[in-house]
Symmetry: C2
Subunit: 230 residues, 2 copies
């Protein structure tokens, strides 16, 4: 496999995908066209407008983009594609759409065959075992929470450390992930913004500017450095 | 109906249910025993420990508490109960348990017959039309997101205003609720901590120390004062 699963598409104060530009040139080396999967629809944006946003970035690295929604036969489109990018937004909407159109397993098969894949935020959640560690609001009911399992763990994108100044009794992110571990055995990678998972063949590493926080059942959470294998 | 759906059980720096004490004396007037529904299990706490926590508060207002998990026949327990309290925690776990044990509709029927009900956080979410505006992590997969519909809208508990100082690209609460409204027609009540919904017969009001933020499809969000009918 040849994949990047990133916490976010956009760093605070930065432009769309800018911080990943050099990485993406490497990921998609030799490829001149990819399929963009716009189903997570951040803020309810249309598939067309979301695809335009992806196109604007990818033309700066000479890659053409077509939106998956444009194809009548989406299974065939995935099978014929050279590479993929799934944008962020609402993970429930993304997973519901992929399952209802029977595309989750088709996308998985194509990525496992070696086609490059980039996921950001919700697009990274679907690379994990299931979507049970998304931060998103359950605005629609998917037929299943199962995802592609491109890595042997779950991802929590936009991982956020507790803010000791916040006078609010909602759960912290760490509390939520620990609740997940009371019900599940799966390891969770808390990806801070600026970080991503890189898988090349069977080697999986964490990359980026921040430490990465790992949660496992029965252990205290711990931090690993950029470049560490996982 | 005679219900309170509160944003939180505990104000920042306060003790469990303390800020609601006078309200709860009114809600449960004439009642000496209630059933506590501990299924949301905050932080993975056991049903027993969570019920003890509720007992400790309710003994200060001379109300006995029994946990619903203690009963072999839970449907009969709900039918024979004098009143109810559902504590906060994880809404997915709460809704999954209530649906799998066929208790959601039994609880609804008993509340609609006039038995007093208190919900906090996840326990308030289940008073809405569905759980699609919870803040919680989807750590388990419920057979349905449908809830009791004790009020003709959805609730977003622990409603949190955007923090302009946060250098983080995760969605704000307002963005998430607006995404909900791209997929659903249901009004959403953003309940800040310190606020609650009060329903007495057919009169529904918002109460508490803060303004309440209302989200409706096709409208700008707006604020209503404590005491307003909704």
């Amino acid at each position: 496999m040849n994949i990047i699963l990133a916490s976010t598409s956009t760093l605070f104060g930065g432009n769309y995908l800018e911080y990943l530009k050099e990485e993406l040139i490497g990921l998609y080396k030799g490829i001149d066209e990819i399929i963009f999967i716009p189903f997570a629809r951040p803020g309810g944006i249309s598939h067309e407008d979301y695809t335009e946003k992806a196109k604007s970035f990818f033309e700066t690295i000479n890659i053409r983009v077509r939106g998956l929604h444009e194809f009548d036969d989406k299974t065939e489109a995935l099978d014929l594609a050279k590479g993929f990018f799934t944008g962020g937004g609402n993970t429930f909407l993304l997973v519901k759409t992929l399952h209802e159109e029977n595309l989750m397993s088709v996308l998985k098969k194509n990525i496992e065959a070696g086609k490059p894949y980039l996921g950001c935020s919700a697009g990274s959640n679907i690379g994990g075992q299931n979507m049970k560690t998304t931060n998103d609001m359950p605005i629609v009911y998917p037929p299943s929470f199962d995802c592609m399992g491109l890595v042997p763990f779950n991802i929590n994108p936009h991982y956020l450390d507790p803010n000791p100044e916040l006078k609010h009794n909602g759960e912290t992110r760490e509390t939520r992930i620990k609740e997940f571990l009371t019900q599940n055995e799966i390891k969770v990678v808390g990806l801070r913004e600026g970080n991503w998972i890189r898988r090349i063949d069977n080697i999986i590493t964490v990359e980026g500017s921040e430490l990465t926080r790992i949660f496992e059942k029965g252990k205290e959470p711990y931090e690993i450095k950029s470049g560490s294998q996982i």
